[in-house]
């Protein structure tokens, strides 16, 4: 039987205003976890019963450490940010399907927006070939050095112009004529929608990691659906179980 685990926090540090990196000693899952998957974190803040689904940012098999980077957006993540080194937190995972890395792909484009950037770090770590990473933030970019460390060429845009190009990822895409075998992306839905359009127009396959409000995280409650199409037939897939990573061509983007 699968189960939730109580795992020890070995680091929990604010890496940018409101953004935290937490390291969990979690040997039970480092072997099986994949880039793009997520975990359910049960924060047990007062009055809160739903787990927080958060993407895995890095998997360190040697140290048995799972790294999660999260934004404090509500009371659950606030409670998580207040946990100390040595504290235990209840975690379920890995959940969902991660990114698919085709063996024959050599040229990779990786695009992240805001708090969509963290899960792409583990992906970049595992990619082989030419990797270009495009990241967009409101201000205060995160994880740039990590992407560089794993051999990617990194391009940054910020909305306030403090770092890199002033604007967003879509502005970089407009100026570039990207050539790649695969695009991998995670970020806000308007960004993913623009990437899907770009991918179709340029004949490149794209994978998008979707986000939706979830309850169970394992496919039972049918809370987090995403409209997809197969030929002409539209169907609701579950972001938690069938995703969170989908091919952009199967997602129905018009809502």
């Amino acid at each position: 039987m699968k189960q939730t685990h109580k795992v020890k926090i070995v680091d929990n540090v604010e890496i940018s205003p409101g953004i935290y990196k937490i390291d969990l000693l979690f040997k039970e899952i480092v072997e099986s976890a994949k880039a793009g998957q997520f975990v359910n974190m049960y924060t047990n803040s007062s009055g809160s019963l739903l787990p927080r689904p958060i993407s895995i940012s890095q998997i360190n098999k040697e140290k048995n450490v799972l790294t999660i980077v999260y934004a404090v957006v509500g009371k659950g993540t606030k409670a998580l940010s207040e946990m100390k080194i040595g504290d235990e937190v209840k975690v379920l995972g890995p959940l969902g399907n991660g990114f698919n890395i085709p063996k024959e792909a050599e040229n990779h484009i990786v695009i992240g927006g805001g708090i969509g950037a963290p899960p792409l770090v583990e992906l970049v770590k595992q990619l082989k070939g030419n990797i270009e990473v495009y990241l967009g933030f409101r201000s205060n970019p995160i994880l740039i050095e990590e992407f560089k460390e794993y051999g990617a060429k990194v391009y940054v845009a910020t909305e306030d112009g403090s770092v890199g190009i002033k604007g967003n990822v879509r502005d970089i895409l407009k100026e570039k004529n990207l050539k790649a075998d695969m695009i991998y992306s995670c970020g806000p839905k308007p960004m993913l929608k623009a990437i899907a359009k770009y991918a179709t127009e340029n004949g490149i396959k794209a994978q998008v990691s979707m986000e939706e409000r979830m309850a169970c995280g394992i496919g039972a409650c049918v809370g987090c659906t995403c409209k997809t199409k197969k030929k002409e037939e539209v169907q609701n897939k579950k972001v938690c179980k069938d995703g969170p990573v989908f091919y952009s061509e199967e997602v129905v983007w018009n809502d």
Partner: protein, 303 residues
Amino acid sequence: MTNPNIKVNIAEVELKNPVMTASGTFGSGREYGEYVDLNKLGAVVVKGVAKEPWDGNPTPRIAETYGGMLNSVGLQNPGVDEFIEKDIPFLRQFDTKIIVNIAGKSIEDYCEVAKKLIKADIDLIELNISCPNVKAGGVNFGTDPAMVEEVTKAVKKVAKQPLIVKLTPNVTDIVAIAKAAVRGGADALSLINTLLGMAIDIHKRKPILANTVGGLSGPAIKPVALRMVYQVANAVDVPIIGMGGIANGEDAVEFILAGASAVAVGTANFNNPTATIDVIDEVKEYMDKYNVENLDDIRGKLL
């Protein structure tokens, strides 16, 4: 620990224990079956099925609230045909009872689902006339005693399996509704479904749920559910399946003391995937502690 008798009987169907899953929180058992041994459950109550596939409501469908959550899934389901083909054979691998929650938008819809289930290998039907997220049908049937009686009578006439009617708490007088269901021929009652609620994102100045309103569940609604079970148990003679915020054995014992024959665990699964099993174990612990040999000895027995 001694081995107390926790078997229960719902309309001539014997459950090995009084703990079942609340419809809509547990799918057809496949997903949570990876976390709990389904053989240990009294029954699996599956997510509502309609005569045809339903798409459900737009997202977001989930909002967390203090001590609970709102959902506006809207009974997304693959339709009864696919359910019969795929989910019943899956569930029959396990030694547990199968209770099928049926949804509809008209009396004819409900009857058609019940008819399609005549040959199906299931144990009980739960008539869902209480979903707050379906405008046509659903809760509209459940708030008017005359309608409750009429739809219950119609489904009872065609259904082969014993009929549980699941009641909505969004009414002025739950006892009147319960009596109407019993007059219509209900073999048992489930209560409560979710309470209609709402949550607003003050930063966007918009409702969190795409459907604006949704059903509130979780510990926040437990006192309301318990009160309703207590009132109904004292007014009708059919077995009651109590639900609404049950997360542990103590909660379950409260419902049994209020008069419930069995209990269902719903939202608690999201917080603790093994909540159902934990409830069973904790009910036994309670019985052990107070030397209760038989659940019947405490059912409805408030001092």
